[in-house]
Symmetry: C2
Subunit: 143 residues, 2 copies
DNA sequence: GCAACTTCAATGATACATCATACACCTCTG
DNA sequence: CAGAGGTGTATGATGTATCATTGAAGTTGC
């Protein structure tokens, strides 16, 4: 049945893409995971987000973000200093090493995308994106 | 950039679908995860597969399948008896409880799919599937 | 038959997902 | 200002992903 394999294809495609992406990052000698990279990039763009805010942007929950940030801090890709006006939070900033890592990953990511999307037109991509967005909306809880 | 959000949409859609699917299984009072269900179903259809074979069919690696099978055995959804002609393997079979679980999940899965795919035509679905398959192929290692 | 190779399953290490909870800290309201 | 409720972070429990390795068991070649 057709509807039974669409989610299989979805799963298969995203997983294979992640494998390719991670393999190419590894091959470039960069010690970071895709998910850590996603979070690091968000923090670079905006260093005043809560963990939940970050989670919204990378589609992860707060607990996952918390653990990823911990790893980024352990690896010195991120620094944290207490925020004076809110004792619960810290100000996270991308370190120099973190910056260098982001710079190194950037071209790899671009190349990964172009490999993955080879043979797909702009229109194809737009269509897939729209249909996926529709599926996403359909799956949202009634609220 | 368009290409930068296609993978985001992909990720988002599949995750939200999995959330919906799991939530509805939970709500139906069935104690199984999506991934366990996938594996159990494959074993039901063919009870003479190696863990790697099963992995190929559900797009998981052997290690993941091994752990999922262990959980299915622990929960008595599966039985294992030694195979006489190969001391490394066991014959896995879906237990009565496993069968009942599969039967109970089936309608929930169908409903999940129809919820998720509401508003998408057959042609849309086919197109998405084909484009995702193309992406998958593009991401395969050079071999 | 034995050595070399291959196959199969289990498991350790590490990372992420999800749900739930705990706890500290903030804010608002009476 | 005190208590109630909301927000932000950390962490436990459980499940899955990925890579690597181990060890047992099968197979092949000679």
């Amino acid at each position: 049945m057709l509807s039974s394999i669409i989610f299989y294809s979805l799963d298969k495609a995203i997983r294979q893409y992640r494998k390719l992406a991670q393999a190419n990052i590894d091959r470039a000698g960069i010690a970071i995971t895709i998910d850590q990279w996603l979070v690091l990039r968000v923090i670079q763009e905006n260093d005043d987000l809560t963990q939940s805010d970050i989670g919204d942007r990378v589609f992860k929950d707060q607990a996952s973000v918390a653990r990823i940030i911990r790893l980024l801090l352990d690896q010195r890709l991120l620094t944290a200093e207490p925020l004076p006006h809110d004792g619960r939070r810290t100000r996270l900033r991308v370190s120099l090493l973190g910056q260098q890592t982001l710079d190194a990953v950037q071209p790899v990511v671009l190349q990964n995308r172009s490999i993955a999307l080879e043979g797909l037109s702009e229109a194809d991509i737009r269509l897939v994106r729209d249909l996926l967005e529709r599926i996403y909306q359909n799956c949202l809880p009634p609220a």
